[in-house]
Amino acid sequence: MIEGVHISLSAEKILDVFGFPLTNTLLTSFLVVISLMVGAYVLGRKIKAIPAGIQNAAEFVIDGLLGFMTTIAGDRKTAEKFFPIVATIFIFVLFANWAGIIPGVGSIGFYEDGKTFVPFFRSVNSDLNMTLALALIAVTLSHFFGVAGLGAFKHAGKFFNFKNPIGFFVGILEFVSEFAKIISFSFRLFGNVFAGEVLLVIITFLVPVIAPVPFYGLEIFVGFIQALIFAVLTMMFLVVATKHH
């Protein structure tokens, strides 16, 4: 029975554009990014002092997110400084995760070589390329702001400390943890979303109607939580990187 389920760890290639592999996750990611950009443009054009309609919702989200980030950063100024990065991570991951639950994602596709099924769309974060990209962005930016905030010498001093043996080992641990950060960042998100996808595929395969509904609800929740976790951790790393010790 389970033979009917095809699960691929990596994203499937749909097209090859001059040597560039256009995968289904990349396509989905394009669509998510374009929809968000169009949404932001439409919203941003008519921002008024007295909010109305969709502006209320946008304000609610942004104000809520900023308030939450302020509790993590400690003060509003720091929170506002890193807000664009963190909020974009949150919004993008959230909508990417939710877009992965839309009917048709993972089910509309074609048969490659008449044998293996290749969906056109696949949940964006069920591809390590995406989560690794986000992790690299988050960690790289934390180093960038660390250098910008403390100076290159002082920032490097966190990892290469020759003043005393304890400091030296702590520095090495810090250095290793930077790579661990990238891996934990990317695999946490990938693992959660990919597992969710697999779960939905299997449940839908076993009992096609009704049974998957609670799992869809679960995926909506997990998608939100993972987006929040990614954003919060990024915020924390950014704040820690720019703090004086």
Binding site: F20, T25, G44, E59, L66, T88, F92, L136
Partner: protein, 168 residues
């Protein structure tokens, strides 16, 4: 290593594309969503803060005005009561003066009239005396005019006058 990456589906071209994707999204969201919305939110917050500050100032002013009003009222009340007191005092004095004057006048009048009455009485009495003396002398003259000498006559008149005086 590259085998592992391949098995995990990691492709640096796709990875790079995702990074660019995200960067573009970040830029657009920052420009069209975060900046204007945060500006509006901060402006609104500032406005509310200002309004609260202003209303606080107004409250303070109101309290000041209230205190001033109270002070003025107390002053006015005190002044008015003082004025009333003074007026009452003045009225009392006037009344007293008038009363005193009236008393004085009436007393003087009484004394004068008493004097007048006494003078009148004295006059009448003198007249009665003279009359009596004349009458007694005439009666004595008529009855015992031939027998009595002038000395007796005078004595009898004197006795009659003494009697009249004693009856006074």
């Amino acid at each position: 290593m590259s085998e592992l990456f391949h098995n995990l589906g990691i492709d640096w071209k796709v990875l790079l594309a995702q990074i660019v994707n995200f960067a573009i999204l970040l830029f657009v969201l920052k420009k069209f969503a975060y900046k204007p919305i945060l500006k509006v939110l901060n402006d609104r917050r500032k406005k509310i803060e200002e309004a609260i500050e202003r209303s606080k100032g107004v409250d303070e002013k109101m309290a000041e005005i209230e205190a001033l009003k109270e002070k003025i009222l107390v002053e006015a009340r005190r002044e008015s009561s003082e004025i009333i007191k003074k007026a009452e005092e003045a009225a009392d004095k006037i009344q007293e003066d008038a009363l005193k004057e009236a008393y004085g006048k009436s007393e003087k009048f009484m004394a004068e009239s008493l004097k007048k009455v006494q003078a009148e009485r004295e006059k009448i009495f003198q007249e009665v005396k003279n009359e009596t003396a004349g009458l007694v002398y005439a009666a004595v003259e008529r009855t015992i005019g031939d027998l009595a000498d002038e000395k007796l006559k005078a004595k009898m008149v004197e006795d009659a006058l003494k009697f009249v005086i004693s009856k006074r």
